[in-house]
Point group: C2
Chain length 107, copies 2
DNA sequence: TACATAAATTAGAACTTGATAATATAATGT
DNA sequence: ACATTATATTATCAAGTTCTAATTTATGTA
């Protein structure tokens, strides 16, 4: 069966909501390259400290990312390697111009 | 590069929002088995007519599904086959109990 | 100890989303 | 033409989300 059972739909929808935001999805993409601390993410995204912190908190509560304190900094990283695949699929859907070569090769 | 370029992040986040809801994700999953008309989806999901219609409308505007009128009925179907892959990844993440066998075989 | 830096928390306003109920439109059968 | 069935639209209200500004907590350092 190629579907999500009813019992898990709620969790999956909640998980999607956790990344269904420009800034949060941007953070997820940055973290694909490895762990980053909050200041680095502020730099990378241009978000305000408070705003970013709140989004990171939400992503952490939703199980998208984990954090680890190293001295004065808090480093965030992707919690589940499946998110690499998720981003890959999103790229297929929303960056068609980047994926045309592959798509054409399949025909 | 395994990431979504900034220029497409907004679209991707918006697309995610279009399915980041229990009912809409449920509809998407039902449509994986083929086109369905509104009444069938009402049956399948238990949603009210008006509510479902509004969610279908949103998913259509966001490019997740297409519709086609056949006589008195309107049939909806998935707009992009990549959504099969998206659901597959979601299953890996949010239905771990269903995927354990595969995961263990990989070790 | 006092100060600086990193990050989290809180409160509140503005905006968005989702559900319901009521109404409208469109196709079909009598 | 009239009733019936299928779907869409509109208005409204409650609930949820997001941003900003201010405050707090924790860590490292002079």
């Amino acid at each position: 069966m190629h579907t999500i059972p009813e019992s898990n739909i709620k969790d999956a929808a909640q998980g999607l909501r956790a990344i269904a935001h420009e800034l949060r999805l941007g953070v997820l993409c940055h973290l694909l390259n490895g762990p980053m601390c909050v200041n680095e993410l502020i730099e990378a995204t241009g978000a305000s400290q408070s705003n970013l912190s709140q989004h990171l908190s939400k992503m952490r509560l939703m199980g998208i990312i984990n954090n680890e304190k190293r001295g004065q900094q808090v480093y965030y990283e992707i919690a589940n390697p499946e998110f690499f695949n998720l981003v890959h699929v999103l790229k297929q859907i929303y960056c068609p111009e980047m994926c045309q070569a592959v798509t054409e090769a399949e025909h």
